[in-house]
């Protein structure tokens, strides 16, 4: 049986795992002051951030919605360049990316900050805080790449919080990683403007988009963001050379209507095609949404069936360890070709990206 490498906590350079203590650390003086990309200067020391659809207009000394980019005297700076608050080595299946170098380890990093505010965020202790409110370490791009090499990680994943808000750091690290034949995976809500996204697709290899729902009403109420730019982002990624997977967290009573799942699946089929992997993940109560129960598995199975009926070929359910719909089945001969047990790989019945049983090509990045 082939198994994924053990997920572990980084120890190199004193990196600590998932530091989420909310006491004050007075780390303000240790924030970065690297000029941000994607903003416009306006008169009277004002600026407009064009990185994400929020288009924050900020006066001197103000920060954007993300809390990690600040206007200082009319110049916009990222405060989190190389300021990592969380670092792990994770199996790539944990992202989840199922058609991207299965069983490989991903050096996974995050800084503080996020450009939305999901009421069900699993990592709110790092995503919904300012960088000075959380312990972080200096982890410059070259050190990230070196650490990935030393730990046999073929992938660096930008994840946990929202990598869009640490764009400059992610971009530079990705470029350096590419030069060392290390791949880059971005785990994002997709709330980003087209121009920075197109730039990003030139230096990364895989993007997983968390599509939170298929209605603007949900995005307004529970995400505090916009659906349309996320859909645009998905289309841009699909047209690029970057591998794309979609996760849809199914929340009881809020975004679990079969009609919504059908609409979403049809849209994906039409705009992205039948081969995009779609993961319907199980919700667990947390952060500001503790009043709802975990998603019934039957709801996830129903979502799976709807998506398959619509014509999507690679549909999965997530956060249900050991469920058969975590596996990949060949859409041609129906044989099991990748067996998964939570984040571990049981077996892979593929050769050179094709089903071992019928030679059907399976889309993805396999080597």
């Amino acid at each position: 049986m082939k198994t994924a490498g053990a997920a572990g906590t980084m120890t190199c350079s004193g990196l600590a795992a998932m530091l989420t203590e909310m006491h004050a650390f007075s780390q303000e003086s240790n924030l970065s002051k690297i000029e941000a990309r994607f903003y416009e200067k306006h008169p009277d020391r004002e600026i407009e951030c064009t990185l994400c659809p929020r288009l924050c207009k900020l006066g001197d000394k103000e920060r954007g919605y993300c809390g990690v980019r600040e206007n200082i005297g009319g110049t916009y700076y990222t405060l989190v360049y190389g300021k990592v608050c969380s670092s792990h080595i994770d199996p790539i299946e944990k992202k989840p990316l199922f058609h991207f170098l299965p069983s490989s380890n991903a050096l996974s990093i995050a800084t503080a900050g996020c450009n939305v505010n999901c009421k069900f965020c699993q990592n709110w202790e790092i995503s919904q805080v300012r960088p000075e409110q959380i312990r972080h370490v200096d982890f410059p791009p070259e050190a990230v790449v070196l650490t990935a090499e030393k730990n046999n990680c073929p992938v660096i994943a930008y994840t946990y919080s929202e990598p869009v808000v640490f764009y400059e750091y992610m971009f530079d690290t990705s470029q350096m990683a590419r030069n060392k034949n290390i791949k880059n995976a971005v785990i994002t809500g997709g709330h980003i403007n087209p121009e920075p996204l197109v730039e990003l697709t030139k230096v990364v290899d895989a993007i997983k988009v968390d599509l939170k729902a298929f209605s603007q009403e949900f995005y307004s109420k529970y995400v505090r963001g916009e659906l349309k730019p996320v859909l645009e982002a998905i289309k841009i990624i699909a047209k690029s050379d970057v591998w794309l997977e979609i996760v849809y967290l199914v929340i009881p009573t809020l975004n679990d209507k079969p009609s919504d799942i059908r609409k979403l699946s049809r849209w994906l089929l039409q705009e992205v095609g039948p081969d995009v992997p779609v993961h319907f993940s199980r919700f667990h109560p947390m952060y500001l949404m503790k009043n709802l129960p975990p998603t019934p598995i039957s709801t996830l199975v129903e979502a799976y069936q709807i998506a398959k009926e619509v014509g999507l070929r690679y549909v999965y359910i997530g956060n249900v360890p050991g469920h058969k719909f975590e596996n990949t089945y060949c859409p041609n001969c129906q044989n099991l070709i990748i067996e998964r047990i939570q984040y571990r790989i049981g077996k892979i019945e593929m050769l050179e990206g094709k089903c071992k049983f019928c030679d059907n090509p399976i889309p993805g990045v396999w080597a």
């Binding site: 003086s29 009277d44 954007g64 500001l288």
Partner: protein
Amino acid sequence: MSTVVIIRGKNIFSLGNEVDEKILAHMYTLGFTTLTGQSKLEDCFHSFLQAKDKIGIKINTIGGKNISTRPQVALSLAHSLSENHRGEIIVWDRTNRELREAGYKLNWNRGGIKIFGTDTQGIGYSRNLVSHLNIGSLFSSIQADRISSSISLAILKDHGLAGVTAGMKNYFGSVHNPNKYHDTNCDPFVAEVFDTNPIKKKHRLTILDGLIIQYHRGPSFHSRWADKQGMLIFSFDPVAADSIGWQIIEKLRAKKGLPSLREESREPRYLKTAEKMGLGSADLKTITIKEVEL
């Protein structure tokens, strides 16, 4: 009816840009006696504070030296309170850096009036995530745990998103994530942050520092749109205080030929929301203004 007291210190800047501290102290005395109807300061304070109260004076120092609650204004109040009241007094804001940049000398471990930020080692944010309406925040442990009564001693100024920032919005500096509450002209967030237990149960008084008012292009400082008004505004009604503050800004804007905040689609709608939530009066017809000029 809610009462708002406006004290104008005509000569408070007679020394140039420095505040005349004697006039300032007199303004405070006049403000408290007019607001409470008591003649002695001690009685004024006892009308809204308990003898053993630990008092937090929440100031606003995000704007730097030019457009923050002035140290003289905060310390004059703090000294007046300490002379007439036994409890501990903490002058505070989000960060020590902002306090220093606004001209405050920090004191977190010596006797007397304490001055420090939430980011002081060992202070930080309370571990209890407060979830209330659209709010999900951690509160400064100063506001949540260390004090029993709170005075919002805010700078009154124009705000590009909220329209006006004054006493209620000042409490954005008590939560860990104020950046999440600036959408839709900060409405309903200003009202809802105020409506949380750590604020509403402890807030006793609003005082607005209107010595110099930034009436346009706030919240950053721009000297050409800042005017020496030499006023302090007092009210037990947080919504009424801010509503009158808004009107003062509108008058200044009109005088300078600027469009109203409504015309710029950034009127402070959160005031009406706060009124609907029962936090105070936004309707000017229900507010009595007592104006005294020194």
